[in-house]
Symmetry: C2
Subunit: 165 residues, 2 copies
Amino acid sequence: MDLFRSYLHQQRLPLTRQREVIAMGLFESGEQLSVDDLADLLRGRGEHVGKATIYRTLSLLVQAELARELDFGEGFKRYELQAGEARHDHFICTSCGQVTRFVRSVVDEFQATIAAELGYTVQSRRLEIYGLCSECRAAVERASSAGAVTTGEAASSGQVRGEGG
Amino acid sequence: MDLFRSYLHQQRLPLTRQREVIAMGLFESGEQLSVDDLADLLRGRGEHVGKATIYRTLSLLVQAELARELDFGEGFKRYELQAGEARHDHFICTSCGQVTRFVRSVVDEFQATIAAELGYTVQSRRLEIYGLCSECRAAVERASSAGAVTTGEAASSGQVRGEGG
DNA sequence: TCGGGGCTGAGATCTGTTCTCAACCATGAT
DNA sequence: ATCATGGTTGAGAACAGATCTCAGCCCCGA
């Protein structure tokens, strides 16, 4: 949050109430929010902020490298704060929509190795693994062994958890 | 191509001229094509195919696991054939738009390891590394040492190459 | 306190993708 | 070869996410 303040100051951009509220919302949520999620969240707090402003502020946060733009193939983008956090990747359950972050240094290592081998310079990466979380796999196995067909519901709310609980 | 034919037959779906032409276009190009790219390509061959049909056929090819949907954050999707090909990942030059495919078993190994650790079942993945290709990096270095500012142009045509030339 | 440049927001606009539906055609049977 | 039929096709409408417009507002340095 302070980082955002100093970024704005350094860029000679004013810190408005909207910018503050948007960054706080994303910061406190800690999840991967869509623009609509964020608008709803703020509305629930009695703060009305136009979508145009949300888009503009998110793009500022991305420029400041305080946030990251994500796309899980849902047809719209999600954003998450990454202030000072270690570079992490995502595992997305295709059944319930649960997103799990993970951090593994081996990813950075093979990324560097591959770039060196190909003669490239790395700027960023996207690693997303799609599959079934343990609960959904269990549900699928139960259903198939019972001969029934039941699928978990896609969670539009985008529940998140870091690995290890 | 024959795989597509047999997939259609097996699904009791007719093989139309449009489907044949679209699959052939994607097959012969070997690149990551957008729907517009494909429409242009076919128009250049004197084949007029509606976009709705292109979208429908691509989605069939994806279902048949003969093609893969890609999103390089350009605001639209790209598609590439992956008939029988090894699972590969992409390196995208953010300056000139060049896409390089690469295959590294370490990526598959890591994917299996992390899934096991987290208790997940893998279905698919997306690994994209963004950065500068060697030519663009050289251009940037040249420009900055000369004090000038020049950037490569984003290639909308999406040139591709596999690693090793 | 003031002046001005940047910000805001409702709605228009743009663009990629999907939907609609009447005409068309691939397929299997005769 | 001809026929019936059910899925396909394509032009354009519809939709949704993201961006743009511009008049009015607000932050901030003086």
